[in-house]
C-alpha cells in the first residue's frame, strides 16, 4: 500500500490507470453490447472476399472504406444485420436514385456473397449481428401479445393487416405479406430508412418473436369473410359497392324493366 502510494505520482501511473480504465470499459462494453457477427461465423477469408465484393458493387455509393459519399450513407456500425436485410430483400445494391430503395424479390447475390459483405461491414465497426435461432421464425411467440405490439408499434405505418401504407413525400411502408421472419426481425433491429429502430431494450427478442408469430398467423389464416379486397380498409369496400354493387342492381332493374308484365 505504501509502495503504491509512494509511486502514485510516478509518470507511468497515469498511463497505467488509463489503460486499466480502458480495459474495464472495453470488457464491460463487450459484455453488454450486442453480439457482433464476426464472433461466430466469419473468418478472415470471408472478410477479404467481402471487401472485394464491396469494392466492386457498393463502394461507388458507400465509399471505398464504407465511409459514405454523397450518394450513400456510411455503413460504419450498421452491422451485419443491416447488410443482410438490405441485400437479402434485394434493396441493395441500389439501382439508381429513388425516394426509397424498393424491395426486389429476385436477389442477385448468393447467400455466401451476402454473408461475406456482411462480415466485412461488421469488421469495420461493431453493430447488430444477423439474428439467428428460433426468434426469427416466430417460434414460441405469443400471438395475442404480438398483435398488441404490432398494433401499437407498426400498424400506423404498415396498416392493420400489414398491407402497407403511404408516408410523406412518396415514401411508403411496404406490405409485409410473405416477408421472411428473419427479415422482419432484422427490419425491427436495424430500422431501415424511415422505419424506427426497435432495439432489444425496446422490444425484447421474445416480443419480436411474438410480432413475427402474429404476422405469420394472420397471413396464413383463411379469409373467413371471403375475398379481402387487398385488406385496405373502407376505401376498397366503397369502390367495390359503387362499381359492382351498383352495376348489379342496375342490371337487375334493367332486366326487370325489359320483362313484359
Amino acid at each position: 500500500m505504501n509502495a503504491l502510494a509512494a509511486r502514485r505520482r510516478h509518470p507511468a501511473a497515469i498511463a497505467i490507470l488509463l489503460f486499466l480504465g480502458l480495459a474495464l470499459v472495453g470488457t464491460a462494453y463487450s459484455l453488454l453490447a450486442p453480439k457482433s457477427a464476426q464472433a461466430a461465423v466469419s473468418t478472415a477469408d470471408d472478410v477479404a472476399l467481402g471487401k472485394q465484393l464491396f469494392l466492386a458493387n457498393c463502394a461507388t455509393c458507400h465509399g471505398l472504406n464504407a465511409e459514405g459519399t454523397k450518394s450513400g450513407p456510411t455503413l460504419m456500425g450498421v452491422g451485419a444485420a443491416s447488410v443482410d436485410f438490405q441485400m437479402g430483400t434485394g434493396r441493395m445494391p441500389l439501382a439508381g436514385p429513388n425516394v426509397q430503395a424498393p424491395r426486389i424479390d429476385k436477389v442477385k447475390y448468393t447467400e455466401e456473397e451476402i454473408a461475406a459483405i456482411a462480415a466485412y461491414v461488421a469488421s469495420l465497426a461493431p453493430g447488430p449481428a444477423i439474428p439467428e435461432g428460433k426468434e426469427t421464425t416466430g417460434e414460441g411467440g405469443n400471438v395475442a401479445l404480438g398483435g398488441e405490439i404490432y398494433r401499437v408499434n407498426c400498424a400506423m405505418c404498415h396498416n392493420f393487416a400489414g398491407s402497407g401504407g403511404a408516408l410523406t413525400r412518396g415514401k411508403y411502408a411496404p406490405s409485409l405479406y410473405g416477408v421472411e421472419g428473419k427479415y422482419i426481425y432484422e427490419a425491427m433491429l436495424t430500422g431501415p430508412q424511415s422505419m424506427p429502430v426497435f432495439n432489444d431494450t425496446n422490444l425484447t427478442p421474445e416480443a419480436k418473436a411474438s410480432v413475427i408469430a402474429y404476422l405469420k398467423m394472420t397471413q396464413s389464416e383463411p379469409n373467413v369473410g371471403g375475398m379481402n379486397l387487398g385488406n385496405l380498409g373502407p376505401v376498397s369496400e366503397g369502390m367495390f359497392i359503387w362499381i359492382f354493387g351498383l352495376l348489379l342492381m342496375i342490371a337487375c332493374a334493367f332486366w326487370l324493366g325489359q320483362k313484359a308484365a
Binding site: 395475442a144 403511404a166 371471403g226 380498409g233 373502407p234 348489379l248 332493374a253
Partner: protein, 573 residues
Amino acid sequence: MSTTASARTAADLRADDAKVTSATGSKAGAAAIWVDERTGIAKGAAYMMKKVFPDHWSFMLGEVAMYSMIICLLTGVFLSFWFVPSAGQIPYNGSYVPLQGVIMSEAYSSTLGISFDVRGGLLIRQIHHWAALMFCVAITVHMLRVFLTGAFRKPRELNWVIGSILSMLAIVEGFAGYSLPDDLLSGTGIRAAEGFIRSIPLVGSYISYLLFGGTFPGEAIIPRLYSVHVLLLPAVLIGLFTAHIVLVMVHKHTQFPGPGRTNENVVGFPLMPVYTAKAGGFFFMVFGVLALISALVTINPIWAYGPYDPSPVTAGSQPDWYMGFADGALRLLPGFLEFELFGFTWSMNVFLGAVALIPLMYTAAGVYPWIEAWVTGDKREHHLLDRPRNAPTRTAIGMAAFSFYVVLMFAAGNDIMAIRLQLSINDVTNLFRLLVFVVPVIVFWVTRRICLSLQRHDREKVLHGRESGTIVRTAEGKFFERHEDLDEFDRYKLVAFESPAPLALPSATDLNGVSSKDAKKARRRVAWSNFFFKTRVEPVTPAELAAAHHHGEHEAIPGGSGHAAIKHDKHPH
C-alpha cells in the same frame, strides 16, 4: 297491358274507389270481408291497387334504397340479439385465436362473438354492412336521377326536401353503426369525430364533454351511439321514408314524355298485380345480390383491426365511403386555417370540412327547387320529366355538384392512391386541392356542351331521319347514305320538350330615370335566366318538319308554339 289512370283530383280518385266491390264467394273473399268490416281497409287497398307506376329502370333506384334499408333493419334486429353495447373491459376467450386473452370492450368481444361463434353471424354482419353501403349508394344515384330529370319540380319540392334529409340522416346512421363494434378503426373514427366536435367554435369542448359524458373515450359513448343507431335514427328514417312514399303516392309517379303520356295522366302498370309482382321480385333480387356479395367479399374485418385502444392508429384509417367526402374535405383543408382570436383557438381547418360541410351541402341541395323556380318563374305543376339533355344547364349544375362531391370523396383515399400509384402523398393532396376547384367548372362546361350537341343531334334525326347505313349510288355516280324517317313514336320523344327563352331585360330605370330596387332585382333575374337558357336548342316545330319532308303532306300539323307536338294520323308511317 298498360293502363291509363287519368284522374288527378282527389275527388276523382275517390269516385274510383266507390266502384270497387270485393267479395267473391271464396274463403279468402270471406276473410277479406271480415277484415274490411272491422277496418274499412278495402277502400284504401283498392285505391292503392289501382295506382299506376310507369316503368323505367332509373325509377327503380329509389327502390334499391328502400329495400337496402329494409334489409338493414331486418339484419340489424338479428345483430342486436347478441351485440353488447358496453365499453366494459373483459378478456377475450372466444374462438378467434390471435386475440385470445386480449383485454377488450364487451362491444368488441360480442362483435367477435357474432363473427366467429354465432352460426351465420358473420354472414348477417356482412349483409348488414354491405346493405348499408348499398343504401347510401342507391340514395345518391336516386337523388341524381331525381335531380337530372327535374322530378323535384312543383308539386314535388317537399318530397325532395324530405329526400335530402333522408340522405343526410342515412350517412349519420351509417356512421353511428360503424362506430359500435369498438375495433381499432371505429374507435379511430370516434376519436376523429370527437376532434370534429371540439372544433366547433366556442362551445365545441362543452358539447364533446356532454356527448362523451366526460373526457374521451369514457364509457358512455358506445351505449349512447347504440341508442341512436337502433332506436332514434331508424325511427326518424322510417317516419320520413313513409312520408316520402305517401307523397309519391299522392303526387303519382312522374314519367318520361312519350306518346299518350301527358301531364295529366300516368302510363304504366297498376300496382296490383303487375307492379307488386315486379317490385316483390325486385326485393328478392336486391336481397340476393347483397347476400351474394356478403357471402363472397369481406367487409369490415374487425378481427384484423384489433380492439380499440387510444394509442395505436392504423395506416389507411378511413370512414365508410359515404362519409368519405367530409374526410376528404378535412384532408384538403390547409393547416393555416387554424388561428387564435379573442383568446380562443378557431380550428377552421377542421370545422369547415368535418362539421360545416355536411349541413351546408344538404341545405344547398334542399333549396335548389326554389332557386330554379325563381329563375324560370315557372309556377306550373310538372308530372312529365325532362330528359337530362333537354335541360342542359340544370344537368350541368347537377353533374358539377356531383363532381365536387366525387373529388372530395376521392381525396379521402389520398394515402391509398399514393401508395398504389407510387406517388407522393403531398403531391396527391395538392393536386386534389386544385381539382376540387377546377373539376366542377370543367364538368359544368363539358356537360352543357354534350347536352346541347345531343339536342342538336336529336333535331337532325327528326328532320332528316336516322342514318340507315345503306349507301345509294345515283345515276350520276354520286354516293349518299339513305336516311330513314323515324316513326312517330320515336319522333315524339325527340320533340316533346320545352326550351324556354331567357327573360328579356326590362328597362333598367323607372320613369324618372332612377334605377329602382325592383329593376335591380329583375336584372339579376334576367342575368340568371340568361345563364340558364341563353344557349339552347329548340325542339323541331311541325312547320320545320313539314319543310324538311318533301313527302310530308299527310302530317297533320297543329299550330306551332315553342312547344312542338305531332298529332297522330291514320296512315301507318
